[in-house]
């Protein structure tokens, strides 16, 4: 009897270990979150987009967003951005990727930001040439969408892999959004920028932690 119970118990234990591994190694394996910096001038969120993730990343060829800081020196591979509720969030994106062009030109116009505009390298505007779009930072649930222009294809000193520095060719895009009630909102990119995948929408475009993530309003 004891031998049988031992057998049953060990099988049950092995099953539980398997379930736990499935739960924690795969299912609950969500990319980390980063809190926006709270400064005297308001809440600041610094992001960067690169043509390819860091060389030691599981997918070193995938395009990706990163969280960084104002000096663009502290790169973290996190795509859940934590921001306070009912406040203005100033977003700055350091954009290092080239243009791939929008499939739906409609998205080349910014919407949902404060004033409906954004600045591109310091210049205020509300739309870009759709063919020049490299990425889009969009929060469709909040109606927010900002096109990110690409680095010219003949620019010097282009950044191939994360992390990049401000000395390399890049575009700086800034805009301000107003957060509402607390909640979990998703963000994504609309440019078919996942090279090699059909319609440019596989891989990084379908993986949270690369071109998708959450805006966690707390």
């Amino acid at each position: 009897m004891a031998k049988r119970s031992l057998l049953v118990l060990s099988v049950a234990l092995a099953t539980l270990v398997g379930i736990a591994a499935y739960l924690f190694l795969y299912l609950a394996n969500v990319p980390g979150s980063a809190r926006a910096a709270q400064t005297s001038s308001g809440v600041n969120l610094y992001l960067a987009t690169v043509p390819a993730a860091a060389a030691n990343d599981p997918h070193p060829t995938w395009v990706s967003y990163y969280v960084t800081n104002k000096q663009d020196t502290n790169w973290q591979h996190k795509t859940t951005f934590v921001v306070p509720a009912n406040s203005l969030v100033h977003v700055t994106v350091y954009q290092y990727d080239g243009a791939s062009g929008l499939r739906n030109p409609f998205i080349s116009q910014a919407s949902g930001t404060v004033g409906g505009t954004f600045t591109l390298n310091g210049k205020t505007m509300n739309a870009i040439d759709p063919a020049n779009a490299s990425h889009v930072f969009a929060l469709p649930q909040l109606g927010i969408s900002v096109p990110l222009a690409g680095v010219a294809s003949n620019a010097k000193d282009q950044c191939p892999n994360a992390p990049c520095t401000l000395s390399q060719a890049h575009m700086t895009i800034t805009f301000t959004i107003k957060t509402g009630a607390a909640g979990l909102y998703r963000w994504q990119c609309f440019v078919p920028c996942a090279a090699g995948y059909i319609d440019g929408f596989g891989g990084p475009m379908q993986s949270i932690g690369y071109m998708d993530g959450y805006l966690k309003v707390v």
Partner: protein, 633 residues
């Protein structure tokens, strides 16, 4: 009888199981080796045929080859490969096509040609993957406790949905034919084996390999297409989707061979006197199902090969920009897929109608109409597939036709119900556990069928298509139909198959918990669908939270009821082992006239059948008498 019978020289089991062992362990070891060998070889192929590799870092050729190598290694390790090589040199097969009595548990982990051992392997193997699929269902319901993402996130949620759906729709196609038909058909028709016993074993091990392949998807990031794998979304999928292709590819091959084997067995190996009109109704359901498997499953194989070649050879079957079509997948998939859902349903009809006469103590009412019902469902199921595409934008002129053909399929289904109901009428109904499950089947399938009418009616389908209503509908037909009939079969034949009694009281508790929890889970989902919640979404309208939470809690209870069944199996087997009687149900079908456990050779001599398969009733046997055939078979 000719004198040439059975001149295949008998060989000792030791030879084919010799040096390497040839069991599951060597299978797994060689499977892993095969995976790595082919995976590394595939890594060399990065050129033109693997176009996007440099940009995606994803070598589908390599992964598909890895799966191929893994499966070849696994089957080789089990001993399937030394057989073909011998044959190529002109030697007769050295694996006997029937087994001799062999004690110990070793035979369950090997290539075996005893149809009863294969069916027990099937039972345990399928139950394992059923519980894996069920675990995913529990996790899906956990995520849906809240209207927004809260536990797993959007990406993992879709993998859960995909693995649950694929596991259930893929593995469970053999859920009756594997464990029960392999065991019952040879006994019922009076042969001692299947027509192709080695192929019988192959189908089982292929299915197990398939299940493992599907689980490996989590190492490649999962897949986000659900079990239908609609293109071109699927073509965007990362390497996790290769697991889906490999899984269904293996399942479809296993299904084809299983169906072929069973159909041939019933067609050619019926004992003297076992005419078609004396065939037990369960065998008829196997014939209908096997026909679907033989004809429909190869279409799935072909469709998956197209999907694989799109990802590896850079063809464009499903890429609309390059001359392919997204509809092509939908059409091909459902040409197979609709017969496939009847592959899941028809065996349930057979089980229920087979068990019913025993506990109603009456002959099966309307044998011919029941048979024609099953065959009718099988035939019609090939002509209804476009009802999955009612709002897809396919040619609108065809919709009235598919509406009609879909609704016509309820006529043969109705025959089954007529036979069911009329058999009960004026019987002496014994409410044993198997009988309770049969009645539960009727209750659930009734609602599954009626909700199907809402789906088949195009105007109504505009609302219900792709919603939780559809999801509730097919859970009522497949889970409420197939699973309840499988449970009936388990309690009815289980003691005969495994040689020990199942606890009756636990069985009754199991039935009532499962029946109530099942209806409490999927009943409200009709309402959820009617209120506008699409399938496979991770978020939903906040006003549906209450209903969804109710469903989730019921689903946990449903899951627990299945654990109760598992507990009953283990408890009755290990702790309270009471050997089963030869004929606990006073059944008159032939398998219950054999001793328990059934000997390896089944019959001492090939039986000769005479008379009706269901000789119950006052006119045929004096009231109160034990079956007249006791000891006669």
């Amino acid at each position: 009888m000719t004198a040439t019978a059975n001149r295949v020289p008998a060989q000792s089991p030791a030879r084919q199981r010799g040096l390497l062992g040839f069991n599951m362990l060597t299978g797994i070891i060689l499977g892993v080796v095969g995976w790595w060998v082919f995976y590394l070889l595939g890594g060399l192929i990065q050129g033109y045929t693997n176009h996007g590799f440099s940009q995606t870092g994803q070598n589908d050729v390599q992964i598909m080859l890895g799966y191929l190598g893994g499966v070849i290694g696994f089957l080789g390790g089990l001993g399937f490969l030394n057989y073909p090589i011998q044959r190529m040199m002109g030697y007769p097969p050295n694996i006997p096509d029937h087994e001799v009595e062999e004690p110990g548990l070793g035979k369950y982990f090997r290539l075996t040609t005893d149809h009863k051992v294969v069916s027990q392997q099937y039972f345990v193997g399928i139950a394992f993957f059923f519980f894996v699929g069920g675990l995913n269902a529990m996790l899906i319901r956990t995520e849906l406790l809240s209207p927004t993402t809260h536990v797993f996130g959007a990406q993992q949620y879709l993998t859960l949905v995909g693995v649950h759906g694929s596991m259930m729709m893929g593995m469970m196609t053999s859920g009756v034919l594997g464990p029960f038909a392999n065991w019952l058909v040879p006994l019922m028709i009076g042969s001692r084996r299947m027509a192709f016993p080695r192929m019988e074993s192959l189908t089982f091990w292929l299915l197990m390999a398939a299940g493992v392949v599907l689980i490996t998807t989590v190492f490649f990031g999962g897949f986000q297409t659900g079990w239908t794998g609609y293109e071109p979304l699927a073509n965007q999928g990362t390497a996790g989707y290769d697991a889906y292709l490999g899984f269904f590819g293996l399942v479809s091959i296993s299904m084809t061979l299983l169906g072929l084997n069973l159909a041939v067995t019933i067609a050619t190996m019926r004992a003297p006197g076992m005419t078609w009109s004396r065939l037990p109704i369960f065998c008829w359901s196997v014939v209908a199902t096997a026909a679907l498997m033989v004809l429909a499953a190869p279409m799935l194989t072909a469709t998956l090969l197209m999907g694989i070649s799109d990802r590896t050879l850079y063809t464009a079957f499903f890429d609309p920009g390059l001359g392919g079509s997204a509809y092509l997948w939908q059409n091909l998939f459902w040409v197979f897929g609709h017969p496939e859902v009847y592959v899941l349903a028809i065996p349930g009809f057979g089980i229920v109608l087979e068990i019913l006469p025993v506990f109603a103590r009456k002959p099966l009412w309307g044998y011919k109409i029941a048979v024609s019902g099953m065959l009718g469902v099988a035939i019609f199921s090939f002509f209804v597939w476009q009802h999955h595409l009612f709002v897809s934008g396919m040619n609108a002129d065809l919709r009235p036709f598919y509406m009609l053909s879909t609704e016509i399929i309820s006529l043969p289904t109705g025959f089954t119900f007529l036979a069911f109901m009329a058999t009960l009428w004026r019987g002496r109904i014994r409410l044993t556990v198997p009988m309770l499950f049969c009645l539960g089947w009727a209750f659930n399938f009734l609602f599954g069928g009626i909700s199907g009418v809402f789906n088949s009616d195009t105007p109504s389908d505009v609302t219900t298509h792709g919603s939780f209503f559809v999801m509730a509908h097919f859970h009522y037909t497949i889970m409420g139909g197939l699973l309840f009939s499988v449970m009936a079969a388990m309690y009815y034949w289980g003691p005969k198959m495994f040689g020990y009694k199942l606890n009756e009281r636990l069985g009754k508790i199991h039935f009532w918990v499962m029946f109530l929890a099942f209806n409490s889970t999927f009943g409200p989902l009709f309402a959820v669908g009617f209120l506008g919640m699409p399938r496979r979404v991770v978020t939903y309208a906040t006003n549906l939270t209450g209903l969804n939470d109710w469903v989730s809690v019921s689903a946990y209870v449903l899951g627990l009821s299945l654990l109760l069944f598992l507990f009953n199996m283990v408890y009755s087997w290990m702790y309270k082992r009471i050997p089963a009687e030869d004929n606990p149900w006073h059944s008159r079908s032939i398998e219950f006239q054999l001793p328990t456990p059934v000997p390896a050779q089944d019959f001492d001599e090939i039986p000769v059948f005479s008379g009706d398969p269901y000789p119950y009733g006052e006119a045929l046997a004096p009231a109160g008498a034990e079956p007249a055939t006791a000891g006669a078979y």
